[in-house]
Chain length 151, copies 3
Amino acid sequence: MSSEVQNLFETYARLLDADRLEDWLDLFVDGCHYEILSRENVAQNLPLSLMLCDSKDMLVDRVMSLREANIYNIHVDCHILSFLHVEEIEGVIKAGCNYAVFQSNQEGESRLFSVGRYQAEIIRQHGVLRFKKMRIVVDTGAVLTLLATPL
Amino acid sequence: MSSEVQNLFETYARLLDADRLEDWLDLFVDGCHYEILSRENVAQNLPLSLMLCDSKDMLVDRVMSLREANIYNIHVDCHILSFLHVEEIEGVIKAGCNYAVFQSNQEGESRLFSVGRYQAEIIRQHGVLRFKKMRIVVDTGAVLTLLATPL
Amino acid sequence: MSSEVQNLFETYARLLDADRLEDWLDLFVDGCHYEILSRENVAQNLPLSLMLCDSKDMLVDRVMSLREANIYNIHVDCHILSFLHVEEIEGVIKAGCNYAVFQSNQEGESRLFSVGRYQAEIIRQHGVLRFKKMRIVVDTGAVLTLLATPL
């Protein structure tokens, strides 16, 4: 199971980096929950999230609006993922890993954009693993105003 | 065995990033050796280490002094680990991997803090893998004066 | 097979970081192809590569010239590799992963040097996996003028 979970995260990152956002949506179940929070807020138990889609429709809308209202900085992402922590509790797989996302601009300059941790809940649907919940806790709260594309 | 070693490193990094230093201590056997060296010193065969605890008691003391004399810069760490190299020689597992540690300050700004390589000796004790020796060879010698928490 | 591919990439990175370039050459088959391209060029289907060795002899020459004409900046590399994507098509293994390379200078200062993606073709020769093709697509086009040692 562990390598299957790893493949799911690998696909998640690869599709984002290739700007294949529509394919990336397929990795989520219908009643999914996608949320980005700063570590500071999580530590203080503050509910404010920086990006929140609590259904797949909202996530689809988000991607569609990125395609149509393309006013954010053009960049490419490069996700680097660290070792996975996986545990299964009553049929739900909980998996987490640290990430670093680097962004490169059109001049080919790369910089660290965000570090933090993925905390996912994963279920099996029609034989394949899909994200039911993706919660991203971001250490790099300072640049979150620049957040446009999903992490 | 390889995935068990990977889990040990994953736990090591996750506990440090969550500031669970007391739990992190449990990953070491009693007669453990924990050492941080700069790559430059290793290359020149100079014995000077930047942090050296050659028993578990010293490591416990180190954590306790961090808790009590909290005068270092408040930050959170994010460890990113690369592929593991694992070999077993006469019952001792030797395992190594590159790491990058990013630090985020209280303003939510993240930066590269240190890159280098973990070189560990691991034994099985009471059925679980534990670190007997952790040697960290640091490429980033320049910032080691800022070193307070374990890498 | 997947863990064997991972070991090959791990060895690739470890030998480069240890400046063991001659041993690193052993990871390639005779009729190998090694190429570094910028992501921008790939997207526009431009054939210009930033480093191109289309036989093992050329790769050997490249390493030899690095040893003899040592006029580039002295540095050490640290490769961090992300999750692998592996598929086998008619006996050829195609494998890819994102990477981040950090360079540290002689003052012990580390910085992000390059991020991008390895895209490899791997075959089994005399029982072991070797690179038949290594194509490195680099997001960080800006610093490629500084490129001397292999990525």
